[in-house]
Amino acid sequence: MLSVRPRVIPALLLENDRFVKTRRFEDPQYVGDPVNVLSIFNDLEVDEMLLLDIGAARGAPIQLDYLRRLTTECFVPLAYGGGVGSVEQADRLVREGFEKIVFNTTLLDSPEIVADAVRALGAQAVIAAVDVRAYDGEYRIFGRGGTELSELRLQEWSRLATEVGAGEIMVTSIDREGTRAGIDLELVREVTRLLPEVPVIAHGGAGTREHLAEPILEASASAVAAGSQFVMQGGRDSVLINYPSGAQLTDLFQEEREHRSVGVEDDAHIDARYEIPGRDLSTTVMCERCITTSDVPGARLDEGPTCYYCSLHDELDAQYPIGASSTAALHAFAERLKRSGEGKKYDCIIGVSGGTDSSYLAHLLVELGVRPLAVHFDNTWNSPVATSNIYAVLDKLGVDLETYVVDNTEYDDIYRSFIEAGVIDIDTPTDIGFMGVLYRAAEKHGIKHIVEGHSFRTEGIAPRGWIYMDGGYIKSVHRKFGTVPMKTYPNLDFLKFLKWSAFSGIERTRPLYWVDYHKEDAKRFLADRYGWEWYGGHHLENRFSAFCHSYFMPKRFGVNFRQIEFSALIRSGQMERQVAIERFTAPRYPDPQLIELIKKRLGYDDARFDALMTAPKHTYRDYPTYKQWFERLRPLFWVLMKLNRVPKSFYVKFCRP
């Protein structure tokens, strides 16, 4: 056995500036933002990536400028395919950062161009690719993105590929592509037999992890490429980026387990440009119990030695005491869920983000015999830890997932609108979008319960002056600053919210309130049980949220959300107050690459970004919101709160003046 490891290659289909997934080369389904998806795969340390522009393959021009944005995100080998018809184009692509160029139709039409490319760029840079479909009882070759039957038979094609000197072969089964039915091993065997001297990539149909190994172990392929498997999860074919871990690959290929000398290491660099100074405590008063300071809105530290949020905690703690009664309440709730799901496929909706709380809650529900439908709002800024964690937990639990992927250009426009509005709560569109997606899924499937992974014991309650959210706020900010029409964003506008909360009978519940929920224990448990990973605090589950919390809010507004979280952990006995104070007062260094990524994707140069970071500040009060309606309808929302249709925190924060 040779020591070079078989390669497992995500094959990603580009259509304009979107990634899509096809089935038998047809029906492109939107998968996500290419910059973010590539960057996730890069962080997952995939062996190689293959980018196929299906538009260019059928005649559209090669998008060189756009491709440059993608290659700078990749530190793994990258191949490009789609419409390459000259050596000059191939050379440009190599100079832009692609290691290999895929020739498909050009090899059928003008093999001399491919031979020239081999001479100019080297055999290693040239992949000869062939798309094959069963036709009249034999394997036949189709060019131009699978649309045109070629006269060449496989044997003649193999001779051609050898003559032009291609360094690598890729064979795709059109019949299997996107079906997840398994790779056509007979086809791969035929190709590796005809071409014994060069590496062969098998592509089309790999639906499970086991499918990945078959062409390698049973058909002499050197590599396997797959699309659907790495961008989708589970029976509902929901979008979710995933890739096997190093240990899984070792098992799959029956290699001796080796010790990988790389662990997950902290790759954040200390960059003084982006330093966030530690909090200076000399000018404020601190709560004697937690680390809430007098400048936190609503702290009310002038009224006593401990803050309002500590009293709110005690109130909730008294309402949800941990013990026999809470266990009984949890079980009673699980029974209610099951009864409401009788005759249906699912008992409740659970929003999943890949974070600790929603992952643990999914586990808890399944343990209690509940059948949840997991729903994920993909705002196209996910981090690899998020997608890997969702995949790991749901796959083992056998829980179905439904993902809603928002349009990437539209969402970036919404984010830019909020940044340009000068407000602090720039990540509000994600919170509202998530809620909007949960309600929509509940309505669509006729499910009466939404469960939320919130725990006041570990997260605390965000002050209203720091974060405000409602669908009207998003509309008005976007109307004023946005340029891309809002079409796919699942906003929660007032009437819909009222319909879902008041008239559809959808209850929202936070079961972790009944559990002695300990964050660190939960992380350890999830890691042991599900291979869930915790990469550290600065890698939150979403790249934009990470930017918002680690840089934007502390730098521009002096607001540090860890103050809220640490305070909650102190109150529930999960953190030493002294440790929290030390961390709160120490300087922080956000990941400079994260900030660069944000600038690049939102299209800000340094000058524009700096101007926005220092522009005059505004608050949600400067823009039209639904706040006055929530206040006017306060009695109604009080009733809805009592009926569990809206959380108490919603009532407290949004319905009071």
């Binding site: 040779l2 020591s3 070079v4 490891r5 078989p6 390669r7 890069n42 340390e45 062996d47 190689e48 440059r68 290659t71 700078t72 990749c74 530190f75 793994v76 080998p77 990258l78 190599v94 100079r95 832009e96 950062g97 692609f98 290691e99 290999k100 001479r119 100019a120 760029l121 080297g122 055999a123 290693q124 840079a125 360094g167 690598e168 014994p196 001297e197 060069v198 590496p199 062969v200 050197s222 590599a223 080796e258 010790h259 990988r260 000398s261 790389v262 290491e265 790759d267 660099h269 960059d271 400079p592 690459q593």
Partner: protein, 206 residues
């Protein structure tokens, strides 16, 4: 301002990827085809992909080959990557052009068969290295580190002490070479995610 690493731009190779990876490590780099800039550079990388003769003749005709050889002779730090490594030797079975002759030896093609089995060439994919000799140069590269390879020819230095690391693909071959402050890597550190970043950071801070 002096940059950490100057990349010799003679029209061959994926210079954008190398510059991109150097930026990721937090170091600075520049691309240059200017003999004076390269002569004055702190450290240089000689990149290269493709055919040996194309690259060797471009190096010769641009005059940059001489500049690289002079820097090597002066004891400056030089890193050859992939074909850029092969160019450090005397010549190659792939072509007729002479190499730079900085490291004595030649570049050979992988055998077509090993035992009864056909060896698929290029050697393509992730493979491990085992260090040889004194670990003072690029100490960040450790036994068992995995890098991305894609090549049909490999360096065969005539002096065994010039082999810095070996890798096995059908035959054991020199995946890294060194002579004085000149180092060559057959694999692509710029495409070998964290381990590649570590190697380049090590080189750029050496």
């Amino acid at each position: 301002m002096t940059v950490d690493i100057t990349i010799v731009d003679y029209g061959v190779g994926n210079v954008a990827s190398i510059a991109n990876m150097i930026r990721k490590t937090g170091l600075t780099s520049e691309l240059s085809a200017d003999a004076d800039v390269i002569s004055a550079a702190e450290r240089i990388i000689l990149p290269g992909v493709g055919a040996f003769d194309t690259a060797a003749s471009r190096l010769r005709l641009s005059g940059l080959g001489e500049v690289v050889a002079a820097k090597a002779a002066a004891g400056d730090r030089v890193l050859g990557v992939c074909l850029g490594m092969q160019l450090l030797l005397d010549g190659s079975e792939e072509g007729d052009e002479p190499g730079l002759g900085i490291v004595p030896g030649t570049v050979r093609r992988f055998p077509r068969t090993v035992g009864d089995e056909t060896l698929r060439v290029p050697h393509m994919g992730w493979n491990t290295v085992t260090r040889q000799g004194n670990p003072d140069m690029l100490p960040a590269v450790l036994d068992g580190d995995r890098f991305y390879f894609v090549h049909s020819y490999y360096a065969d230095p005539s002096d065994p002490s010039d082999t810095m690391a070996i890798t096995d693909y059908g035959v054991p071959f020199a995946s890294m070479i060194r002579r004085g402050n000149v180092v060559g890597a057959q694999f692509h550190p710029e495409k070998s995610h964290r381990m590649g970043a570590r190697l380049l950071a090590d080189f750029g801070r050496s």
